[in-house]
Amino acid sequence: MGVSIRCAALAASLCLLAVTAPARAAVFSPESFTLENGLQVIVIPNHRTPVVNHTIYYRVGAMDEPPAKSGLAHFLEHLMFKGTESLKPGEFSAIVARNGGQENAFTSQDYTGYFQTVAVDRLAKMMEIEADRMTGLVLTSEAIEPERGVVLEERRSRTDSNPSAKLREQANAALFMNHPYRIPIIGWEHEIRALTREDMMAFYRTWYAPNNAVLVLSGDITAATARPLVEKYYGKIPARTLPSRPVWKEPPQTADRRITLKHREVRQETWSRRMLAPSYATGPAEDTYALQVLAEILGGGSTSRLYRSLAVEHKTAARIGAWYDPDSRGPGTFGFYGSPRAGYKVDEIEALVEAEVAKLLKEGVTEAEVAQAIQRLRDAAVFARDSIDAPSRILGSALATGRTIEDVETWPDRVGRVTVEAVNKAARSLLVGKGAVTAILLPEETS
């Protein structure tokens, strides 16, 4: 299925990110409680195997970095493995490995997360060491400097050696004119190089606190068995006074922007267009559900309007699709992407996408399209239950970005109530009269 699979996979991952619930309400049926120190705890029982995923989300990400300190949240995430008052550098990971655990960490614009997946009888140890590094981090230059090299290599691998990623970074900087989402999570190289131990510790002491965290346990456990453990290890950590956060808003975007990267290593042209869109945080809420249906109709896989038109009928596109991401603390994004087949140009992709959008705005979507898209999105929520990682990720990221368990659990119902009129209204509001960023990747010799 080559490319069409990738489109479908993209759409599916979006559903999963954005979604959460099964067909009759209640997707994951999680339990939850909150400690006195403010730590919110979510337990998603799944007794298939005696395994549990233990993830802590801190409600702090790249968007919370001070000015000129880009990359700080992510660099700190790396350094969280470098030891505490009670654990030597590297000892955290050694303990996880000796207990047969798999672990990792991730940083987004909105949050930072750390997880271990272990046999459930090892959970207490994971809590002990995760709670320990919530307050006990010790940083030395011997730990920081090699890790700075690692982060710079990570930037080179992910972005600097990848023309598509370089263009994406530039496109993002153009899309957000004011919101800190314009700055890449991994940071600008010159700022990564200048980050200091003091920057790290100040950021850590400000934001790493139980009342700024969500703990998610997914797997062979219940709230009743989890609670005493959570109380024991996390309950003794005092809450901190959290600073107020700036309220970032994008000004009206009135101009279209085009950015082009010509690169000597590029052999395949690509085209994309992205625009600001409602998020769960910014609303309007009804549009966020309608736009998920719209993205599915326009660009969700090989029966979507864009794929039918550009890949099948006009034979112009080798890849074509749409995405929508409402799952963020700041503005959401909506976009289109495509790559021409051999013998075609990005201009032809652009013209055909615009034609499909124009047709949609003129004629609207059909009842059948909406019904089918809703069914697929709701089914995706059932598939999401077939693992212990996906439920953890979906609930954790939702709660870390200001949503509630109920938002997640009622997702299928809310998607199910989307109407043709709602989709058409949301489409018009999104696609008419606003600025968008068009990003084009070309081989160097092309002009």
């Binding site: 797997g219 290593e265 080798a318």
Partner: protein, 455 residues
């Protein structure tokens, strides 16, 4: 969405076949009960019943695969895989895809060098139709000309897109240098030229000659009874021919070992792929080699390579090694990406760690820790139906036995320091260590010019 994908502390290392089954678990045997189901029509599946969610995952594999592609039509198996769900029987591409999508049936096919595989995952309420579509795809694919042209176009665009990445190029240089005359030297996808040579007759011929019951291995996990599964197996696979006519993959003799192949590219960071000949999956020393590799470069946070290259010196974000258990030519393989200024140092460190393992083997503590991880982490692989089904197929592909999950702990646990010392001496020969490097690494000179690569 792009934001969410952006940064992870380390790569979740994409492990080759060897790694999937090669971890074991402790205190847990029996938690997953593998049953053998044989249908009335004689189709065998290994099966784990799991009623957590009302769905099933069916995975299957036909021995053979892309390594059997004709040399002038490389990419045939992969192109076939891309087309099986693009129309079959009375359903044209659009009708077929529409049914899959509207019923949320996940049906995929893929080709590797040594197998042609597939997977079908469906909600129980759509199971009958999912099975019917799977049968049609396997036995009556249409290969209509516009669909062949479209999927060829997508594959070619994918090849071109990947070829802007130094990591992809390093892999290609490696393959071409080590296996200039064997299918392992050519990409599974083929190239723009080789794909142009593929005709509809070739595609139909592939299905007829490769997809036989005698080569089929099926694994199933999910919410279904054994009786229902028996009927499903006959409905899905019963119409396949009894025997496949395709040949077998020839053994491959590495053409060049001990060299450094350098492909110059103006990129800020060099990428190296490295390796030397390894052990077959069926080798009695395989488990010793597996534990040895975990200590040398397999452990994501704790290996010697990770420690020396990343942790101590910050020379890489990603550094790892693995056992590539191909039948025709097993290898120990690895990869690293380092800024041009530091790549020569990374290469030196990799050489010295391989030498150290060859000369000294491992310590008691290292061995103990590796076993704790490899045995303790095995249950983590059974957390979704598709992962379970894929392990079942893997067990069958490598003839590991239906009781493999019960024997796993012992196979890992019985590896001794002496076993590792022996296996390191036997195959981890530093003189054979070969590098393919793409970039402009300071102070690193290629001993050989990189071969020309296409695509």
């Amino acid at each position: 969405m792009l934001r969410h994908f952006a940064t992870v502390r380390r790569l979740l290392i994409a492990l080759p076949v060897a790694a999937i089954a090669v971890t074991a678990f402790s205190g847990w045997a029996g938690a997953v009960a593998v049953e053998r189901v044989v249908s009335k029509g004689g189709i065998e599946a290994w099966f784990v019943r799991d009623t957590s969610v009302p769905l099933i995952s069916v995975q299957f594999s036909f021995r053979g695969g892309a390594a059997l592609d004709p040399i002038d039509k490389t990419g045939l198996a992969n192109l076939t895989a891309s087309l099986l769900d693009e129309g079959a029987g009375e359903l044209d591409s659009h009708a077929f895809q529409e049914r899959l999508q509207n019923l949320s049936i996940q049906l995929n096919f893929d080709a590797d060098y040594e197998s042609f595989g597939g997977s079908m995952k469906t909600l129980n309420r759509n199971r009958d139709e999912a099975v019917r579509l799977l049968r049609l795809a396997l036995t009556k694919p249409r290969f209509d000309a516009p669909d062949v042209e479209r999927m060829t176009g997508e594959i070619v665009a994918g090849i071109k897109q990947r070829s802007s990445r130094p990591g992809y190029l390093a892999q290609r240089v490696w393959q071409q240098a080590i296996f200039p005359k064997h299918p392992y030297g050519r990409p599974v996808t083929g190239s723009e030229t080789s794909l142009k040579a593929v005709t509809q007759a070739d595609l139909k011929g592939f299905v007829k000659s490769h997809l036989g019951k005698d080569r089929l291995l099926v694994g199933v996990a999910g919410d279904i009874t054994k009786d229902e599964l028996g009927a499903l197996l006959d409905a899905a696979f019963g119409d396949l021919p009894a025997k496949a006519a395709a040949g077998n993959i020839p053994d491959a003799e590495p053409a060049a070992l001990g060299y450094t192949f350098l492909l110059s590219r103006q990129v800020p960071q060099s990428v190296a792929v490295f390796g030397l000949p390894g052990l077959k999956r069926s080798d009695p020393d395989f488990y010793a080699a597996f534990v040895m590799n975990h200590i040398l470069g397999g452990g994501s946070f704790s290996s010697w390579l990770y420690e020396e290259v990343r942790e101590k010196r910050g020379l890489a974000y990603s550094i790892y090694s693995y056992l590539q258990a191909r039948r025709g030519a097993p290898f120990w393989m690895g990869s690293v990406a380092t800024a041009n200024a530091g790549m020569a140092k990374s290469v030196d460190l990799i050489r010295s760690q391989v030498q150290k393992m060859h000369d000294e083997g491992v310590s008691d503590e290292q061995l103990e820790n590796a076993k704790l991880f490899l045995n303790g982490s095995f249950p983590l692989r059974f957390t979704s139906t598709d992962r379970v089904a894929s392990i079942l197929v893997h067990m069958r592909f490598y003839n590991l036995g239906i009781d493999y999950l019960d024997r796993r702990v012992g196979l890992i646990g019985s590896v001794t320091k002496a076993d590792i010392a022996r296996v390191a001496k036997r195959f981890l020969d530093p003189k054979k260590l070969t590098f393919a490097v793409v970039g402009q690494p300071d102070g690193l000179t290629g001993t050989e010019k990189a071969p020309e690569i296409e695509g």
